[in-house]
């Protein structure tokens, strides 16, 4: 009851905490599918003042945190797929064959507007190959996506 009374609202703590897997490397490449966003205490105050705790990144591409940026656009020093919670959304969109997360991924990979519908279909059909089990990491998923794209004549030109 106390939890609910003190606002059942979660504000991500610092933005860097949102981006980093607990104990993992700087980019979240080691995040597994369905990574929970736990460990972020509920703050009435944080919700009240809509604030950020700690250092806000302010959109800087740090590039110095050792992220492996191959295959996807760097975005604040980190690829979209490695961000906590994004992989789950991408997985859901791939399962059904469309969605905002999937479109964002395709845009971040430089796929042209004319090829995106095809990208979505190919991802949907190869869902089982890209997400073979629940313990896949972002890095593995990225690699599998690239493998699938290489085998497709329209999409192979976008692979790294």
């Amino acid at each position: 009851m106390k939890k609910t009374l003190i606002a059942a609202a979660m504000l991500g703590a610092s933005t860097s905490a949102m981006a980093v897997a607990p104990g993992g490397p700087g980019c979240g490449w080691g995040n597994m599918l369905f990574e929970g966003q736990s460990g972020m205490p509920m703050h009435l105050l944080a919700t009240l003042v809509n604030g950020t705790t700690g250092n806000a990144t302010f959109g800087m591409t740090t590039g110095t945190n050792g992220c492996d940026t191959s295959g996807a656009l760097t975005y604040s020093g980190q690829s979209l797929l490695g961000m906590t919670g994004v992989m789950e959304e991408v997985a859901q969109d791939m399962a059904t064959g469309e969605g905002e997360a999937l479109t964002a991924l395709s845009v971040s990979m430089g796929i042209e507007a004319s090829d995106r519908a095809h990208f979505n279909t190919v991802m949907h059909e190869n869902f089982a190959a890209i997400f073979p089990h629940q313990d896949v990491t972002a890095k593995q998923v990225m690699a599998s996506i690239n493998d699938v794209m290489k085998k497709d004549q329209n999409l192979s030109k976008y692979t790294v």
């Binding site: 929970g36 919700t47 003042v49 809509n50 950020t52």
Partner: protein, 612 residues
């Protein structure tokens, strides 16, 4: 002042010819007083009482002159001196100011920032062709969210890829440890600095839509590329710069208006005095000035789940719920008997429910395995589109934040009275519902004066704060309904007198079509001069039912407490409000206040007028 100006001019003339001399017809006074310079310095034009005609920025790093905070001309001159030479380091900190001086005085713009590697790198990453004001709406069970929030989204142009946009957010910088009420007070009263942060918009979607189950309203701003460039360049100037943060007036929404003023000076967004800036006021202010061109509704995950769930009948919903607990039912006869499209919806509902429930928790193998099983099933079944919410109600179309009311009534069949009420903020269970969450009430400073035939106007009621959250429970979610209420009111104890009280409680609520019953326990602390002890506690129940149809809102309910001194009191009420127009409502109520052996009846008719 003029001697100083002359000196500066002479200094310019004396310096190397690489410096472009200012055009002699441009007056520094006029520039310092111009809308854009005032906006760049965040000078208060009279919008709030604090810091009038001074800069809102509370950080020495922002000013090049010692008197910069109070004196825009001094700051302009200091800026002019610091930025004029090619290769000046100050240019890298103040690109928008450079652009201002360059445009006003004819300075060279090409290659002006060649030596600013960090700024150029940032500017290449942060580009935008469109700015969108995002309003995460209120969320039941979170009182602090009931006023909403506003942030700015900078889109790079791909309509379908807003996940890759930047979000500009102004908020207080607190530390993770601050959670006690003392720190909350600090947050309300300017104890924390406020800063602008620039984060990937996808993080905000996660926070608001996914984690907090808040709908998001996205309003496209009608700013052209030049205006956007001003905004972005100025944003760099605000990096790590402290403002004061005041919850009521100088908050997230207010600062965003300042940013829009930089993009389009002279918008008159900050000229009216205000005591509070509620986020919805910001949306209205921009809308009234024609700065909003489009509106888009993004439902929360909870709303999406609800929309999907309602496509299933009762049995199917029960099956979907069981499926979430045990995905092996995917192969059961009951499940397989359904059509492929129904199975797809059930699997999707089960999956979404499971993720909604566990998204905030530590990852466990069991839940991951179950989630994956359902996701795989979704992949093998036909795709399911989430039905759109019909006619979502934009929050800026709701009634005004303040309220005045007059009423007339009769107590005990013979005591006529008239009342005048004022409420600072915001919305109760019967107020015109359009644009507001059902079952949510938040009121602050609600004052009522009552005048009877026999005497002058007396204080009838002063509600300091009242928050009520009646969140309906169903098979999929079981939120707690609760309330807290405190202030002064007239209550019977020997005779009708003014008492001070604080009460609250928790329980449950349900939604059956247009009916919403609720049942809460209630605890009351009363300070009453009739009672022996300073504070007398009482316990009881608060139960009732709401009914809503079109412009009519009904409430029937009863709240009663049994006190430790063997005294008990209850109030039963039947009330109805008719929303005449968006900003006017008529409320009728019949109330009985009862105690051991007797009671009083009261009837009242009230006209309520809402305004901002």
């Amino acid at each position: 002042m003029r001697t100083g100006l002359l000196c500066v001019l002479l200094c310019w003339a004396a310096v190397s010819v690489a410096v472009t001399p200012p055009r002699p017809d441009v007056s520094m006074d006029a520039l310092a007083a111009s809308d854009r310079w005032q906006a760049l310095l965040h000078i208060n034009p009279g919008a709030t009482l604090r810091d009038r005609h001074r800069s809102y920025v509370d950080d020495d790093n922002f000013f090049l002159s010692e008197t910069g905070k109070e004196d825009p001309l001094a700051e302009l001159l200091a800026t002019h001196e610091a930025l004029q030479l090619p290769g000046a380091q100050a240019r890298c900190r103040f690109p928008a100011r450079y652009r201002f001086l360059a445009q006003s005085l004819g300075w060279e713009q090409a290659g002006a920032f060649d030596h600013c590697a960090q700024y150029r790198e940032w500017r290449a990453a942060v580009t935008a062709s469109r700015a969108v004001l995002v309003f995460p709406a209120a969320y039941l069970n979170s009182p602090s969210s009931m006023f909403g929030h506003t942030l700015l989204r900078l889109d790079q142009g791909e309509d379908s890829a807003v996940w890759l946009s930047w979000a500009v957010n102004f908020g207080a910088v607190s530390t993770a440890q601050d959670n006690s009420f003392f720190y909350i007070y600090r947050g309300l009263a300017g104890g924390y600095p406020g800063r602008f942060a620039l984060v990937p918009y996808v993080q905000k979607i996660q926070e608001y839509s996914h984690m907090e189950n808040r709908d998001m309203w996205e309003y496209t701003l009608d700013l052209d590329q030049q205006e956007l460039d001003w905004l972005i360049e100025h944003l760099w100037e605000l990096k790590d710069i402290n403002f004061d943060y005041y919850f009521f007036d100088e908050n997230c929404s207010f600062r965003l208006l300042e940013l829009v003023e930089v993009a389009r000076p002279g918008s008159q967004l900050l000229t009216e005095l205000r005591f509070a800036e509620v986020p919805v006021n910001t949306v209205r202010a921009l809308d009234e000035r024609g700065i909003i061109s489009e509106r888009h509704y993004r439902p929360s995950k909870a709303v999406e789940l609800n929309n999907l769930r309602e496509q299933l009948n009762g049995n199917q919903q029960a099956l979907a719920r069981r499926l979430a607990d045990d995905p092996s039912l995917l192969t059961s006869d009951a499940f397989m008997a359904e059509s492929a499209s129904d199975r797809a919806i059930m699997a999707s509902v089960a999956y979404r429910y499971l993720r909604l429930k566990y998204r905030k928790e530590e990852r466990t193998d069991a839940v991951a395995k179950d989630s994956f099983a359902l996701l795989t099933a979704m992949n093998q079944l036909p795709p399911v589109a989430v039905p759109e919410t019909l006619d979502p109600e934009p929050p800026e179309k709701g009634h005004g934040t303040q309220m005045l009311a007059i009423s007339g009534g009769q107590r005990e069949g013979n005591q006529d009275f008239g009342e005048l009420s004022y409420r600072l903020t915001y919305h109760d269970l019967l107020d015109n519902p359009y644009g507001f969450l059902r079952g949510a009430e938040i009121e602050g400073l609600d004052l009522t004066l009552r005048s009877t035939e026999s005497g002058d106007a007396k204080l009838e009621d002063l509600q300091v704060v009242s928050i009520r959250s009646l969140a309906p429970r169903n098979r999929f979610i079981q939120p707690l309904s609760w309330y807290v209420d405190g202030g002064l009111e007239r209550a019977w104890a020997g005779r009708r007198r003014l008492v001070r009280y604080l009460q609250g409680g928790a329980g449950g609520s349900w939604q059956w079509g247009n009916w919403q019953p609720y049942l809460l326990t209630s605890l009351r602390m009363e300070n009453n001069s009739e009672f022996d002890t300073f504070v007398t506690p009482g316990a009881g129940l608060d139960a009732g039912i709401l009914y809503r149809r079109g412009r009519w809102q009904w409430q029937a309910g009863s709240v009663g407490h049994y006190f430790t001194n063997d005294f008990y009191r209850y109030t039963s009420q039947l009330a109805v409000q008719w929303a005449v127009t968006r900003q006017h409502g008529v409320r009728a109520s019949l109330e009985r206040e009862g105690w051991r052996g007797d009671g009083d009846n009261e009837f009242k008719l009230q006209w309520r007028w809402y305004f901002d």
